[in-house]
């Protein structure tokens, strides 16, 4: 089995990736760089692999969408992160979606509880582009006035889903949109506005 290497410099690369992911989460809609030379097994994208190696460990159960579970990928994740791969999205701390346009309903994932809103799933959506696609106009904490984010592909009914997710606050899921080398986040705190 061809097992591709992890980070060449595990400490520094994970730190700089963590910084980018944190920046993206703190300023929703901002696109942050995720540089790496990883060559993860298909169909995991390079950006999603960087997040996986940075955030996953033995305590974070991972759920993979339909085309992802494969021996190569499961083995790669387990080898480098020791994260257990689960089939029940309710139990997952992270979910990687290789086909975001076919994402299952968000309430299929763990939404956290009022006592422990942090026990919710973080969704990692592998998108093709963070420049094209329908503009999403965002407001909320971490955003000065408003910011526009574009990404594709995304679920067609994303605005409705995000509104429902926002209504659950402080419960709810967080989204990370990744391409091969960049990341943007839609945490549960963002509100979608229609006005441009």
């Amino acid at each position: 089995m061809a097992l591709s290497p992890g980070f060449a410099d595990p400490v520094l690369e994970a730190q700089s990736a963590f910084r980018s992911i944190m920046e993206a989460s703190a300023r929703p809609g901002t696109v942050c760089p995720l540089d790496s030379t990883l060559a993860p097994p298909a169909p995991l994208s390079r950006g999603a692999a960087v997040i996986a190696l940075t955030l996953f460990d033995q305590d974070t159960a991972v759920w993979l969408d339909a085309p992802l579970p494969g021996d190569d990928l499961t083995y790669w994740l387990r080898f480098h992160t020791r994260a257990p791969v689960v089939t029940d999205p309710q139990r997952a701390a992270f979910a990687i979606l290789s086909r975001p346009e076919q994402a299952p309903p968000f309430d299929a994932f763990a939404l956290g509880t009022l006592e422990y809103p942090d026990r919710s799933t973080t969704l990692i959506l592998q998108v093709d582009s963070l420049e094209r696609g329908r503009p999403l106009v965002l407001t909320g904490p971490g955003i000065k006035d408003r910011v526009t984010l574009r990404a594709e592909p995304l679920p067609a009914d994303l605005p409705r889903r995000l509104a429902a997710n926002r209504a659950l606050f402080p419960r709810g899921i967080d989204l990370h949109l990744v391409t091969g080398s960049r990341v943007a986040a839609l945490p549960r705190s963002v509100t979608l506005t229609d006005e441009a």
Binding site: L3, G6, A8, P10
Partner: protein, 138 residues
């Protein structure tokens, strides 16, 4: 593996250098140092308990031909973990195995065996045989 981990880093490096040219390989898991919890059992069959943590370094390398070698050594010597992993991978490769056996394992085994024998001999020299004199009653 038992032979490899008892070797010194310098020793491994120079023996591996004698094996040139080495097949192309890449490091799958960079050498890293961590702690491993050691478990013990009282009396060999009692309930397990945590004895304490030991410092361990590990690395994983893969040869071009696909063999993966794992290196786990006690201590913080990460370079040694990498060399052990490389030897482990080479041992799995059909084409390299004889050379590794002859040029690395054999001399190491010889050296380690000699050392053990010397220690045993030194210990044996201090041996004391205890015996009880039988005192005659008559």
């Amino acid at each position: 593996m038992a032979v490899l981990v008892e070797a010194e880093r310098q020793e491994l490096a120079s023996l591996l250098a004698g094996l040139e040219p080495l097949p192309a390989h890449e490091i799958v898991r960079q050498p890293e140092t961590g702690l491993v919890m050691l478990q013990g059992r009282i009396g060999g069959d009692g309930s397990p308990f945590n004895l304490g943590e030991a410092t361990v370094s590990r690395a994983v390398v893969r040869l071009e031909s696909g063999e993966m070698g794992f290196g786990y050594v006690l201590g913080r010597d990460r370079e040694k973990a990498r060399l052990v992993a490389l030897c482990d991978a080479l041992l799995q490769s059909e084409s390299c195995r004889p050379a590794v056996e002859a040029k690395i394992l054999a001399p190491l085994r010889e050296r380690i065996h000699d050392e053990h024998r010397q220690v045993a001999a030194r210990t044996a020299a201090t041996r004391v045989d205890f015996f009880t004199l039988v005192r005659g009653d008559n």
